[in-house]
Protein backbone atom coordinates (compact mmCIF):
# COMPACT_ATOMS: atom_id res chain seq x y z
CA UNK A 1 0.00 0.00 0.00
CA UNK A 2 2.74 2.42 0.98
CA UNK A 3 4.66 1.68 -2.18
CA UNK A 4 1.61 2.27 -4.34
CA UNK A 5 0.87 5.53 -2.54
CA UNK A 6 4.40 6.84 -3.01
CA UNK A 7 4.46 5.81 -6.65
CA UNK A 8 1.12 7.41 -7.46
CA UNK A 9 1.82 10.67 -5.65
CA UNK A 10 5.28 10.90 -7.17
CA UNK A 11 3.94 10.51 -10.68
CA UNK A 12 1.33 13.18 -9.97
CA UNK A 13 4.04 15.53 -8.72
CA UNK A 14 6.21 14.94 -11.81
CA UNK A 15 3.23 15.51 -14.09
CA UNK A 16 2.40 18.74 -12.30
CA UNK A 17 5.98 19.95 -12.56
CA UNK A 18 5.99 19.17 -16.30
CA UNK A 19 2.69 20.96 -16.89
CA UNK A 20 3.86 23.92 -14.83
CA UNK A 21 7.12 24.20 -16.76
CA UNK A 22 5.44 23.90 -20.14
CA UNK A 23 3.02 26.65 -19.15
CA UNK A 24 5.80 28.82 -17.78
CA UNK A 25 7.84 28.74 -20.95
CA UNK A 26 4.93 28.79 -23.37
CA UNK A 27 3.58 32.02 -21.87
CA UNK A 28 6.57 33.85 -23.38
CA UNK A 29 5.52 32.64 -26.82
CA UNK A 30 2.15 34.36 -26.52
CA UNK A 31 1.79 36.96 -29.23
CA UNK A 32 1.70 40.44 -27.69
CA UNK A 33 4.04 42.15 -25.29
CA UNK A 34 2.92 43.09 -21.76
CA UNK A 35 5.17 46.16 -21.83
CA UNK A 36 3.35 47.37 -24.96
CA UNK A 37 0.00 46.78 -23.27
CA UNK A 38 1.05 48.69 -20.15
CA UNK A 39 2.26 51.61 -22.28
CA UNK A 40 -1.15 52.11 -23.86
CA UNK A 41 -2.06 49.05 -25.92
CA UNK A 42 -1.63 48.25 -29.58
CA UNK A 43 -2.42 51.75 -30.82
CA UNK A 44 0.27 53.43 -28.73
CA UNK A 45 3.74 53.95 -30.17
CA UNK A 46 6.18 53.95 -27.24
CA UNK A 47 9.85 54.40 -28.02
CA UNK A 48 12.11 51.32 -27.81
CA UNK A 49 13.70 53.02 -24.81
CA UNK A 50 10.43 53.19 -22.91
CA UNK A 51 9.62 49.56 -23.75
CA UNK A 52 13.01 48.48 -22.55
CA UNK A 53 12.63 50.36 -19.28
CA UNK A 54 9.23 48.82 -18.53
CA UNK A 55 10.55 45.36 -19.34
CA UNK A 56 13.42 45.89 -16.95
CA UNK A 57 11.09 47.09 -14.21
CA UNK A 58 8.94 43.99 -14.67
CA UNK A 59 11.99 41.74 -14.67
CA UNK A 60 11.17 40.55 -18.18
CA UNK A 61 14.56 41.50 -19.62
CA UNK A 62 16.33 38.79 -17.63
CA UNK A 63 17.09 35.51 -19.45
CA UNK A 64 14.01 33.26 -19.41
CA UNK A 65 15.88 30.53 -17.55
CA UNK A 66 16.73 32.94 -14.73
CA UNK A 67 13.09 33.99 -14.55
CA UNK A 68 12.09 30.31 -14.43
CA UNK A 69 14.41 29.60 -11.52
CA UNK A 70 13.14 32.68 -9.72
CA UNK A 71 9.54 31.59 -10.31
CA UNK A 72 10.19 28.02 -9.17
CA UNK A 73 12.05 29.29 -6.09
CA UNK A 74 9.14 31.57 -5.20
CA UNK A 75 6.67 28.77 -5.84
CA UNK A 76 8.33 26.57 -3.23
CA UNK A 77 7.78 29.36 -0.71
CA UNK A 78 4.18 29.81 -1.82
CA UNK A 79 4.96 32.99 -3.74
CA UNK A 80 3.46 33.22 -7.22
CA UNK A 81 4.93 36.58 -8.15
CA UNK A 82 3.26 39.92 -8.80
CA UNK A 83 0.77 40.96 -11.43
CA UNK A 84 2.49 42.86 -14.24
CA UNK A 85 -0.49 45.19 -14.56
CA UNK A 86 -1.68 45.93 -11.03
CA UNK A 87 1.55 45.11 -9.21
CA UNK A 88 -0.34 43.21 -6.54
CA UNK A 89 0.80 39.83 -5.26
CA UNK A 90 -0.82 37.09 -7.36
CA UNK A 91 -1.37 34.90 -4.30
CA UNK A 92 -3.63 37.53 -2.70
CA UNK A 93 -5.91 38.00 -5.69
CA UNK A 94 -5.86 34.35 -6.69
CA UNK A 95 -6.90 33.06 -3.27
CA UNK A 96 -9.95 35.34 -3.34
CA UNK A 97 -10.84 34.21 -6.88
CA UNK A 98 -10.24 30.54 -6.13
CA UNK A 99 -12.50 30.74 -3.08
CA UNK A 100 -15.29 32.22 -5.21
CA UNK A 101 -14.96 29.47 -7.80
CA UNK A 102 -15.09 26.86 -5.04
CA UNK A 103 -18.19 28.57 -3.62
CA UNK A 104 -19.75 27.83 -6.99
CA UNK A 105 -18.37 24.33 -7.58
CA UNK A 106 -18.91 22.74 -4.18
CA UNK A 107 -22.68 23.38 -4.02
CA UNK A 108 -22.99 22.28 -7.66
CA UNK A 109 -21.09 19.07 -6.92
CA UNK A 110 -23.24 18.28 -3.88
CA UNK A 111 -26.42 19.01 -5.80
CA UNK A 112 -25.47 16.93 -8.83
CA UNK A 113 -24.26 13.97 -6.77
CA UNK A 114 -27.28 13.86 -4.46
CA UNK A 115 -29.80 14.14 -7.28
CA UNK A 116 -27.87 12.01 -9.75
CA UNK A 117 -27.18 9.05 -7.46
CA UNK A 118 -30.72 8.99 -6.06
CA UNK A 119 -32.31 9.13 -9.48
CA UNK A 120 -29.88 6.55 -10.86
CA UNK A 121 -30.65 4.03 -8.11
CA UNK A 122 -34.40 4.50 -8.57
CA UNK A 123 -34.14 4.11 -12.32
CA UNK A 124 -32.18 0.87 -11.98
CA UNK A 125 -34.63 -0.60 -9.49
CA UNK A 126 -37.68 0.34 -11.52
CA UNK A 127 -36.66 -0.59 -15.04
CA UNK A 128 -40.17 -1.27 -16.28
CA UNK A 129 -41.89 1.81 -14.87
CA UNK A 130 -41.97 5.36 -16.14
CA UNK A 131 -39.03 6.22 -13.88
CA UNK A 132 -36.39 4.55 -16.02
CA UNK A 133 -37.18 6.18 -19.36
CA UNK A 134 -37.65 9.48 -17.55
CA UNK A 135 -34.20 9.29 -16.00
CA UNK A 136 -32.64 8.15 -19.27
CA UNK A 137 -34.27 11.08 -21.03
CA UNK A 138 -33.00 13.59 -18.47
CA UNK A 139 -29.56 12.02 -18.72
CA UNK A 140 -29.46 12.44 -22.48
CA UNK A 141 -30.59 16.05 -22.22
CA UNK A 142 -27.95 16.71 -19.58
CA UNK A 143 -25.28 15.37 -21.93
CA UNK A 144 -26.54 17.26 -24.94
CA UNK A 145 -27.79 20.66 -23.84
CA UNK A 146 -24.75 22.90 -23.40
CA UNK A 147 -24.38 25.03 -20.31
CA UNK A 148 -24.62 28.23 -22.34
CA UNK A 149 -28.10 27.12 -23.39
CA UNK A 150 -29.15 26.08 -19.89
CA UNK A 151 -27.98 29.46 -18.57
CA UNK A 152 -30.22 31.63 -20.77
CA UNK A 153 -33.14 29.21 -20.20
CA UNK A 154 -32.78 29.59 -16.43
CA UNK A 155 -32.41 33.36 -16.72
CA UNK A 156 -35.49 33.71 -18.92
CA UNK A 157 -37.60 31.62 -16.53
CA UNK A 158 -36.42 32.80 -13.12
CA UNK A 159 -35.37 36.35 -13.93
CA UNK A 160 -37.40 37.60 -16.86
CA UNK A 161 -40.60 35.67 -16.25
CA UNK A 162 -40.91 34.94 -12.52
CA UNK A 163 -38.67 37.88 -11.48
CA UNK A 164 -37.35 35.82 -8.56
CA UNK A 165 -33.60 35.66 -9.02
CA UNK A 166 -30.91 38.03 -10.31
CA UNK A 167 -29.50 37.24 -13.79
CA UNK A 168 -25.92 37.23 -12.52
CA UNK A 169 -23.33 38.89 -10.36
CA UNK A 170 -21.81 38.02 -7.03
CA UNK A 171 -22.37 39.00 -3.41
CA UNK A 172 -19.93 37.71 -0.80
CA UNK A 173 -21.41 35.48 1.93
CA UNK A 174 -19.68 37.77 4.44
CA UNK A 175 -21.58 40.82 3.21
CA UNK A 176 -24.97 39.19 3.00
CA UNK A 177 -25.61 35.44 3.28
CA UNK A 178 -29.04 35.83 1.71
CA UNK A 179 -27.71 37.82 -1.21
CA UNK A 180 -24.97 35.24 -1.73
CA UNK A 181 -27.51 32.39 -1.82
CA UNK A 182 -29.81 34.24 -4.22
CA UNK A 183 -26.95 34.90 -6.63
CA UNK A 184 -25.68 31.32 -6.31
CA UNK A 185 -28.86 29.41 -7.27
CA UNK A 186 -28.85 29.87 -11.04
CA UNK A 187 -25.13 29.43 -11.77
CA UNK A 188 -24.84 26.42 -9.45
CA UNK A 189 -27.87 24.79 -11.08
CA UNK A 190 -26.51 25.41 -14.58
CA UNK A 191 -23.14 24.00 -13.57
CA UNK A 192 -24.70 20.93 -11.90
CA UNK A 193 -26.73 19.81 -14.91
CA UNK A 194 -24.09 17.94 -16.91
CA UNK A 195 -22.38 16.20 -13.96
CA UNK A 196 -25.82 15.17 -12.67
CA UNK A 197 -26.49 13.42 -15.96
CA UNK A 198 -23.17 11.58 -15.67
CA UNK A 199 -23.88 10.57 -12.06
CA UNK A 200 -27.32 9.27 -13.03
CA UNK A 201 -26.06 7.22 -15.93
CA UNK A 202 -23.12 5.78 -14.02
CA UNK A 203 -25.18 4.91 -10.95
CA UNK A 204 -27.92 3.34 -13.02
CA UNK A 205 -25.67 1.07 -15.06
CA UNK A 206 -23.52 0.21 -12.06
CA UNK A 207 -26.51 -0.77 -9.88
CA UNK A 208 -28.00 -2.74 -12.78
CA UNK A 209 -24.77 -4.68 -13.20
CA UNK A 210 -24.61 -5.51 -9.50
CA UNK A 211 -28.28 -6.53 -9.37
CA UNK A 212 -27.55 -9.32 -11.86
CA UNK A 213 -24.84 -10.91 -9.71
CA UNK A 214 -25.16 -14.09 -7.66
CA UNK A 215 -24.78 -12.50 -4.26
CA UNK A 216 -27.93 -10.50 -4.85
CA UNK A 217 -29.86 -13.66 -5.62
CA UNK A 218 -28.44 -15.20 -2.44
CA UNK A 219 -29.45 -12.20 -0.38
CA UNK A 220 -32.93 -12.23 -1.84
CA UNK A 221 -33.38 -15.98 -1.47
CA UNK A 222 -32.52 -15.86 2.19
CA UNK A 223 -35.47 -13.53 2.57
CA UNK A 224 -33.76 -10.18 2.97
CA UNK A 225 -36.01 -7.19 2.41
CA UNK A 226 -35.38 -5.55 -0.99
CA UNK A 227 -34.49 -2.25 0.66
CA UNK A 228 -31.73 -3.99 2.60
CA UNK A 229 -30.50 -5.89 -0.44
CA UNK A 230 -30.08 -2.62 -2.31
CA UNK A 231 -29.12 -0.37 0.59
CA UNK A 232 -26.61 -2.67 2.26
CA UNK A 233 -25.23 -4.94 -0.42
CA UNK A 234 -25.71 -3.48 -3.85
CA UNK A 235 -24.97 0.16 -3.15
CA UNK A 236 -21.72 -0.57 -1.42
CA UNK A 237 -20.44 -2.33 -4.51
CA UNK A 238 -22.16 -0.20 -7.08
CA UNK A 239 -20.96 3.16 -5.83
CA UNK A 240 -17.29 2.28 -6.25
CA UNK A 241 -17.09 3.07 -9.96
CA UNK A 242 -19.46 6.00 -9.44
CA UNK A 243 -16.93 7.46 -7.02
CA UNK A 244 -14.27 7.57 -9.72
CA UNK A 245 -16.48 9.32 -12.18
CA UNK A 246 -17.68 11.83 -9.62
CA UNK A 247 -14.10 12.64 -8.76
CA UNK A 248 -13.39 13.28 -12.42
CA UNK A 249 -16.46 15.50 -12.45
CA UNK A 250 -14.77 17.94 -10.10
CA UNK A 251 -12.17 18.50 -12.78
CA UNK A 252 -14.85 18.74 -15.42
CA UNK A 253 -16.68 21.30 -13.30
CA UNK A 254 -13.64 23.51 -13.16
CA UNK A 255 -13.72 23.46 -16.93
CA UNK A 256 -17.49 23.97 -17.05
CA UNK A 257 -17.21 26.91 -14.70
CA UNK A 258 -15.35 28.92 -17.37
CA UNK A 259 -18.61 29.25 -19.25
CA UNK A 260 -20.79 29.55 -16.14
CA UNK A 261 -18.66 32.35 -14.73
CA UNK A 262 -18.88 34.15 -18.07
CA UNK A 263 -22.64 33.70 -18.41
CA UNK A 264 -23.50 34.73 -14.87
CA UNK A 265 -20.66 37.21 -14.45
CA UNK A 266 -19.37 35.30 -11.41
CA UNK A 267 -15.95 36.84 -10.68
CA UNK A 268 -14.09 33.61 -9.97
CA UNK A 269 -10.78 32.13 -11.05
CA UNK A 270 -11.77 31.61 -14.67
CA UNK A 271 -12.80 35.19 -15.34
CA UNK A 272 -9.51 36.16 -13.69
CA UNK A 273 -7.67 33.96 -16.19
CA UNK A 274 -9.60 35.24 -19.22
CA UNK A 275 -8.83 38.81 -18.17
CA UNK A 276 -5.15 38.03 -17.58
CA UNK A 277 -4.90 36.31 -20.97
CA UNK A 278 -6.27 39.46 -22.59
CA UNK A 279 -3.72 41.62 -20.78
CA UNK A 280 -0.81 39.19 -21.20
CA UNK A 281 -0.34 39.28 -17.42
CA UNK A 282 2.17 36.39 -17.38
CA UNK A 283 2.39 35.66 -13.63
CA UNK A 284 -1.39 35.43 -13.30
CA UNK A 285 -1.73 33.16 -16.34
CA UNK A 286 1.02 30.89 -15.05
CA UNK A 287 -0.46 30.78 -11.56
CA UNK A 288 -4.09 30.10 -12.55
CA UNK A 289 -3.18 27.41 -15.06
CA UNK A 290 -0.88 25.79 -12.51
CA UNK A 291 -3.59 25.81 -9.84
CA UNK A 292 -6.21 24.43 -12.24
CA UNK A 293 -3.84 21.65 -13.31
CA UNK A 294 -2.96 20.93 -9.67
CA UNK A 295 -6.63 20.53 -8.77
CA UNK A 296 -7.26 18.32 -11.79
CA UNK A 297 -4.19 16.12 -11.29
CA UNK A 298 -4.71 16.09 -7.52
CA UNK A 299 -8.29 14.82 -7.74
CA UNK A 300 -7.23 12.13 -10.20
CA UNK A 301 -4.50 10.96 -7.84
CA UNK A 302 -6.86 11.10 -4.88
CA UNK A 303 -9.41 8.93 -6.70
CA UNK A 304 -6.76 6.36 -7.59
CA UNK A 305 -5.55 6.23 -4.00
CA UNK A 306 -9.09 5.93 -2.59
CA UNK A 307 -9.74 3.20 -5.08
CA UNK A 308 -6.60 1.35 -4.01
CA UNK A 309 -7.66 1.60 -0.38
CA UNK A 310 -11.06 0.11 -1.16
CA UNK A 311 -9.99 -2.46 -3.73
CA UNK A 312 -6.85 -4.47 -2.86
CA UNK A 313 -6.52 -5.83 -6.41
CA UNK A 314 -5.34 -2.43 -7.60
CA UNK A 315 -2.51 -1.90 -5.18
CA UNK A 316 -1.04 -5.34 -5.87
CA UNK A 317 -1.87 -5.35 -9.58
Amino acid sequence: MKRYLVKRLLSAAVLLWLVGSVVFFSVYLLPGDPAQIILGGLDAHPSPDQLQRVREQLGLSRPVLVQYLGWAGGLVQGNLGRSLISGRAVTDDLSVRLLRTLQLIVPAAVLSTALGVTAGVHAARARSTFMDPLVSGITLLGFSVPVFVIGPILVSIFTLWLKLLPPGGYVGPGESPGGFAVHLVLPATALAAAPMATAMRMTRSSVLEQLSLDYVRTARSKGLAESRVVGQHVLRNALLPVLTVLGLQVGAMFAGSVLVETIFNWPGMNLFLLQALGQRDYPIIQAVVLIAAAIFIGTNALIDVTYAVIDPRIRYG
Partner: protein, 292 residues
Amino acid sequence: MPSSTLASGTASAPAGWAGRRRVRRLQLLVPLAVVGGVAALAAFAPLLTPYGAETIDPLLRMALPSPAHLLGTDEFGRDILSRVAYGARITLLVSVASIGLAVCVGTLLGSAAAFFGGAIDLLVMRIADGLLSFPPILLAIYVITFLGPSVVNVILVIALLYIPRFARVAHAATLSVRETEYVQAAQAQGARPARILRRAVLPNIAAPLFVQASLGLGHAILLESGLSFLGLGAPPPAPSWGRMIEQSSRFMTLSVWPVVWPASIVSGTVLAFNLLGDALRDWLDPRLRGSV
Protein backbone atom coordinates in the same frame (compact mmCIF):
# COMPACT_ATOMS: atom_id res chain seq x y z
CA MET B 1 -18.07 -8.53 -17.57
CA PRO B 2 -20.73 -10.70 -16.00
CA SER B 3 -23.22 -12.46 -18.19
CA SER B 4 -26.24 -10.21 -18.31
CA THR B 5 -28.61 -12.34 -20.37
CA LEU B 6 -30.49 -13.46 -17.28
CA ALA B 7 -30.78 -9.94 -15.92
CA SER B 8 -31.96 -8.29 -19.10
CA GLY B 9 -34.35 -11.18 -19.76
CA THR B 10 -36.08 -10.80 -16.44
CA ALA B 11 -35.74 -7.13 -15.70
CA SER B 12 -36.74 -5.41 -18.93
CA ALA B 13 -40.25 -4.69 -20.12
CA PRO B 14 -42.03 -7.51 -21.93
CA ALA B 15 -42.00 -5.53 -25.15
CA GLY B 16 -41.51 -8.56 -27.37
CA TRP B 17 -38.60 -9.24 -29.66
CA ALA B 18 -40.08 -7.69 -32.79
CA GLY B 19 -41.19 -4.58 -30.94
CA ARG B 20 -37.80 -4.10 -29.42
CA ARG B 21 -36.17 -4.47 -32.80
CA ARG B 22 -38.40 -1.78 -34.19
CA VAL B 23 -37.47 0.54 -31.30
CA ARG B 24 -33.82 -0.21 -31.91
CA ARG B 25 -34.12 0.63 -35.59
CA LEU B 26 -35.82 3.92 -34.71
CA GLN B 27 -33.05 4.71 -32.26
CA LEU B 28 -30.65 4.58 -35.19
CA LEU B 29 -32.85 6.18 -37.83
CA VAL B 30 -34.19 9.21 -35.94
CA PRO B 31 -30.79 10.64 -34.98
CA LEU B 32 -29.51 9.85 -38.48
CA ALA B 33 -32.40 11.86 -39.91
CA VAL B 34 -31.62 14.81 -37.62
CA VAL B 35 -27.94 14.77 -38.54
CA GLY B 36 -28.91 14.45 -42.20
CA GLY B 37 -31.26 17.41 -41.84
CA VAL B 38 -28.57 19.62 -40.33
CA ALA B 39 -26.14 18.52 -43.04
CA ALA B 40 -28.73 19.43 -45.69
CA LEU B 41 -29.26 22.80 -44.01
CA ALA B 42 -25.53 23.42 -44.27
CA ALA B 43 -25.19 22.13 -47.83
CA PHE B 44 -28.17 23.99 -49.30
CA ALA B 45 -27.90 27.16 -47.21
CA PRO B 46 -27.80 29.51 -50.24
CA LEU B 47 -30.85 27.82 -51.78
CA LEU B 48 -32.92 27.87 -48.61
CA THR B 49 -32.89 31.56 -48.05
CA PRO B 50 -32.48 34.64 -50.23
CA TYR B 51 -30.57 36.51 -47.49
CA GLY B 52 -26.89 36.34 -46.68
CA ALA B 53 -25.84 35.41 -43.16
CA GLU B 54 -24.43 38.87 -42.61
CA THR B 55 -27.04 40.99 -44.41
CA ILE B 56 -28.36 43.65 -42.04
CA ASP B 57 -31.89 45.09 -42.24
CA PRO B 58 -31.98 47.94 -39.69
CA LEU B 59 -35.71 48.46 -40.19
CA LEU B 60 -36.59 44.90 -39.25
CA ARG B 61 -34.87 44.14 -35.97
CA MET B 62 -36.05 41.39 -33.60
CA ALA B 63 -38.89 40.49 -35.98
CA LEU B 64 -41.06 37.52 -35.07
CA PRO B 65 -41.18 34.54 -37.46
CA SER B 66 -43.01 35.45 -40.68
CA PRO B 67 -43.19 34.14 -44.27
CA ALA B 68 -40.39 36.50 -45.27
CA HIS B 69 -38.17 35.49 -42.34
CA LEU B 70 -39.20 31.98 -41.32
CA LEU B 71 -37.35 32.15 -37.99
CA GLY B 72 -37.54 35.91 -37.54
CA THR B 73 -34.60 38.32 -37.35
CA ASP B 74 -32.02 39.14 -34.70
CA GLU B 75 -31.06 42.39 -32.99
CA PHE B 76 -29.32 43.67 -36.17
CA GLY B 77 -32.20 42.63 -38.40
CA ARG B 78 -30.28 39.66 -39.78
CA ASP B 79 -32.31 36.66 -40.96
CA ILE B 80 -31.98 33.95 -38.30
CA LEU B 81 -32.66 31.03 -40.64
CA SER B 82 -29.77 32.15 -42.85
CA ARG B 83 -27.47 32.51 -39.87
CA VAL B 84 -28.42 29.13 -38.46
CA ALA B 85 -27.91 27.49 -41.87
CA TYR B 86 -24.55 29.14 -42.57
CA GLY B 87 -23.58 28.50 -38.96
CA ALA B 88 -24.23 24.79 -39.55
CA ARG B 89 -21.50 24.89 -42.20
CA ILE B 90 -18.91 26.17 -39.72
CA THR B 91 -19.99 23.87 -36.92
CA LEU B 92 -20.15 20.71 -39.03
CA LEU B 93 -16.89 21.53 -40.78
CA VAL B 94 -15.13 22.04 -37.45
CA SER B 95 -16.50 18.94 -35.78
CA VAL B 96 -16.02 16.57 -38.73
CA ALA B 97 -12.55 17.86 -39.59
CA SER B 98 -11.29 17.91 -36.01
CA ILE B 99 -12.65 14.51 -35.06
CA GLY B 100 -11.51 13.05 -38.39
CA LEU B 101 -8.00 14.33 -37.74
CA ALA B 102 -8.08 13.08 -34.16
CA VAL B 103 -9.30 9.61 -35.19
CA CYS B 104 -6.54 9.23 -37.79
CA VAL B 105 -3.65 10.51 -35.69
CA GLY B 106 -4.92 9.05 -32.41
CA THR B 107 -5.55 5.59 -33.84
CA LEU B 108 -2.18 5.53 -35.55
CA LEU B 109 -0.31 6.57 -32.40
CA GLY B 110 -2.33 4.43 -29.99
CA SER B 111 -2.29 1.21 -31.98
CA ALA B 112 1.36 1.60 -32.97
CA ALA B 113 2.27 2.21 -29.33
CA ALA B 114 0.39 -0.88 -28.17
CA PHE B 115 1.69 -2.99 -31.05
CA PHE B 116 5.37 -2.17 -30.65
CA GLY B 117 5.37 -1.67 -26.89
CA GLY B 118 8.57 -0.60 -25.14
CA ALA B 119 9.83 2.96 -25.14
CA ILE B 120 7.47 4.19 -27.89
CA ASP B 121 4.52 2.90 -25.92
CA LEU B 122 5.69 4.61 -22.75
CA LEU B 123 6.42 7.92 -24.47
CA VAL B 124 3.18 8.13 -26.46
CA MET B 125 0.90 7.11 -23.65
CA ARG B 126 2.58 9.38 -21.07
CA ILE B 127 2.17 12.36 -23.41
CA ALA B 128 -1.47 11.35 -23.83
CA ASP B 129 -1.86 11.21 -20.04
CA GLY B 130 -0.29 14.63 -19.76
CA LEU B 131 -2.68 16.15 -22.28
CA LEU B 132 -5.63 14.44 -20.59
CA SER B 133 -4.55 15.74 -17.19
CA PHE B 134 -5.72 19.14 -18.24
CA PRO B 135 -9.26 20.55 -18.23
CA PRO B 136 -10.17 20.47 -21.95
CA ILE B 137 -11.77 23.88 -22.36
CA LEU B 138 -8.97 25.60 -20.45
CA LEU B 139 -6.42 23.97 -22.75
CA ALA B 140 -8.50 25.08 -25.73
CA ILE B 141 -8.72 28.66 -24.48
CA TYR B 142 -4.99 28.71 -23.79
CA VAL B 143 -3.99 27.37 -27.19
CA ILE B 144 -6.42 29.64 -29.04
CA THR B 145 -4.86 32.63 -27.28
CA PHE B 146 -1.58 31.61 -28.91
CA LEU B 147 -2.88 30.86 -32.35
CA GLY B 148 -5.62 33.48 -32.54
CA PRO B 149 -9.29 32.73 -33.17
CA SER B 150 -9.99 31.21 -36.58
CA VAL B 151 -11.81 28.19 -37.98
CA VAL B 152 -8.59 26.33 -38.76
CA ASN B 153 -7.19 26.94 -35.28
CA VAL B 154 -10.38 25.73 -33.62
CA ILE B 155 -10.15 22.53 -35.71
CA LEU B 156 -6.53 22.05 -34.66
CA VAL B 157 -7.28 22.63 -30.98
CA ILE B 158 -10.22 20.23 -30.84
CA ALA B 159 -8.17 17.64 -32.71
CA LEU B 160 -5.36 18.11 -30.18
CA LEU B 161 -7.83 17.53 -27.35
CA TYR B 162 -9.21 14.35 -28.91
CA ILE B 163 -6.03 12.72 -30.19
CA PRO B 164 -5.12 11.35 -26.73
CA ARG B 165 -8.68 10.07 -26.22
CA PHE B 166 -8.66 8.12 -29.48
CA ALA B 167 -5.11 7.00 -28.81
CA ARG B 168 -6.27 5.48 -25.52
CA VAL B 169 -9.20 3.66 -27.07
CA ALA B 170 -7.04 2.36 -29.92
CA HIS B 171 -4.29 1.41 -27.45
CA ALA B 172 -6.60 -0.67 -25.27
CA ALA B 173 -8.25 -2.33 -28.24
CA THR B 174 -4.92 -3.14 -29.90
CA LEU B 175 -3.56 -4.66 -26.70
CA SER B 176 -6.49 -7.05 -26.66
CA VAL B 177 -6.04 -8.21 -30.26
CA ARG B 178 -2.24 -8.23 -30.28
CA GLU B 179 -1.96 -11.72 -28.89
CA THR B 180 -4.73 -13.26 -30.99
CA GLU B 181 -3.98 -16.12 -33.34
CA TYR B 182 -4.68 -14.19 -36.50
CA VAL B 183 -2.10 -11.59 -35.59
CA GLN B 184 0.41 -14.32 -34.73
CA ALA B 185 -0.42 -16.03 -38.01
CA ALA B 186 0.28 -12.84 -39.91
CA GLN B 187 3.56 -12.45 -38.04
CA ALA B 188 4.50 -16.05 -38.77
CA GLN B 189 3.91 -15.40 -42.47
CA GLY B 190 6.50 -12.67 -42.23
CA ALA B 191 4.19 -9.71 -42.79
CA ARG B 192 5.66 -6.30 -42.07
CA PRO B 193 4.32 -4.51 -38.95
CA ALA B 194 2.64 -1.81 -41.05
CA ARG B 195 0.76 -4.48 -42.97
CA ILE B 196 -0.26 -6.34 -39.82
CA LEU B 197 -1.54 -3.13 -38.28
CA ARG B 198 -3.50 -2.26 -41.40
CA ARG B 199 -4.88 -5.66 -42.33
CA ALA B 200 -5.19 -7.56 -39.06
CA VAL B 201 -5.39 -5.03 -36.24
CA LEU B 202 -7.31 -2.04 -37.60
CA PRO B 203 -10.41 -3.87 -38.87
CA ASN B 204 -10.75 -5.52 -35.49
CA ILE B 205 -10.47 -2.39 -33.39
CA ALA B 206 -12.70 -0.24 -35.61
CA ALA B 207 -15.94 -0.78 -33.65
CA PRO B 208 -15.07 1.05 -30.42
CA LEU B 209 -13.43 3.80 -32.46
CA PHE B 210 -16.61 4.30 -34.47
CA VAL B 211 -18.66 4.66 -31.30
CA GLN B 212 -16.13 7.04 -29.82
CA ALA B 213 -16.05 9.09 -33.01
CA SER B 214 -19.81 9.54 -33.06
CA LEU B 215 -19.85 10.70 -29.44
CA GLY B 216 -16.78 12.83 -30.21
CA LEU B 217 -18.64 14.66 -32.99
CA GLY B 218 -21.24 15.74 -30.44
CA HIS B 219 -18.57 16.85 -27.96
CA ALA B 220 -16.74 18.74 -30.69
CA ILE B 221 -19.90 20.70 -31.48
CA LEU B 222 -20.25 21.57 -27.80
CA LEU B 223 -16.63 22.70 -27.67
CA GLU B 224 -16.81 24.67 -30.91
CA SER B 225 -19.95 26.52 -29.88
CA GLY B 226 -18.58 26.98 -26.34
CA LEU B 227 -15.43 28.57 -27.75
CA SER B 228 -17.39 30.81 -30.07
CA PHE B 229 -19.64 31.71 -27.13
CA LEU B 230 -16.49 32.96 -25.41
CA GLY B 231 -15.50 34.84 -28.56
CA LEU B 232 -12.68 32.42 -29.36
CA GLY B 233 -14.25 30.64 -32.34
CA ALA B 234 -14.63 31.77 -35.93
CA PRO B 235 -14.17 35.55 -35.88
CA PRO B 236 -17.21 37.81 -36.43
CA PRO B 237 -19.28 38.50 -38.40
CA ALA B 238 -19.22 34.81 -39.44
CA PRO B 239 -22.41 33.20 -38.15
CA SER B 240 -21.62 30.71 -35.43
CA TRP B 241 -24.23 29.09 -33.20
CA GLY B 242 -22.33 29.80 -29.99
CA ARG B 243 -21.86 33.47 -30.72
CA MET B 244 -25.46 33.84 -31.91
CA ILE B 245 -26.57 32.65 -28.47
CA GLU B 246 -24.08 34.87 -26.68
CA GLN B 247 -24.98 38.04 -28.58
CA SER B 248 -28.73 37.58 -28.61
CA SER B 249 -28.96 36.56 -24.96
CA ARG B 250 -28.03 40.15 -24.08
CA PHE B 251 -31.31 41.23 -25.63
CA MET B 252 -33.49 38.58 -24.03
CA THR B 253 -35.58 41.20 -22.26
CA LEU B 254 -36.77 42.31 -25.73
CA SER B 255 -37.19 38.93 -27.40
CA VAL B 256 -36.13 35.39 -26.59
CA TRP B 257 -36.59 34.00 -30.14
CA PRO B 258 -33.14 34.95 -31.47
CA VAL B 259 -31.74 32.78 -28.65
CA VAL B 260 -34.27 29.96 -28.90
CA TRP B 261 -33.40 28.95 -32.48
CA PRO B 262 -29.63 28.57 -32.26
CA ALA B 263 -29.99 27.08 -28.75
CA SER B 264 -32.38 24.42 -30.01
CA ILE B 265 -30.30 23.53 -33.03
CA VAL B 266 -27.08 23.15 -31.02
CA SER B 267 -28.81 20.99 -28.43
CA GLY B 268 -30.69 18.95 -31.04
CA THR B 269 -27.59 18.24 -33.11
CA VAL B 270 -25.53 17.21 -30.10
CA LEU B 271 -28.41 15.06 -28.86
CA ALA B 272 -28.60 13.35 -32.25
CA PHE B 273 -24.87 12.56 -32.24
CA ASN B 274 -25.11 11.20 -28.70
CA LEU B 275 -28.08 9.00 -29.59
CA LEU B 276 -26.25 7.86 -32.70
CA GLY B 277 -23.22 6.90 -30.62
CA ASP B 278 -25.38 4.91 -28.19
CA ALA B 279 -27.22 3.18 -31.03
CA LEU B 280 -23.94 2.36 -32.77
CA ARG B 281 -22.57 0.91 -29.56
CA ASP B 282 -25.60 -1.32 -29.14
CA TRP B 283 -25.41 -2.36 -32.74
CA LEU B 284 -21.66 -3.01 -32.91
CA ASP B 285 -21.26 -4.48 -29.43
CA PRO B 286 -24.26 -6.63 -28.53
CA ARG B 287 -22.71 -7.53 -25.18
CA LEU B 288 -23.52 -4.08 -23.85
CA ARG B 289 -27.16 -4.10 -24.94
CA GLY B 290 -29.45 -2.93 -22.20
CA SER B 291 -26.68 -2.10 -19.78
CA VAL B 292 -26.26 1.58 -20.59
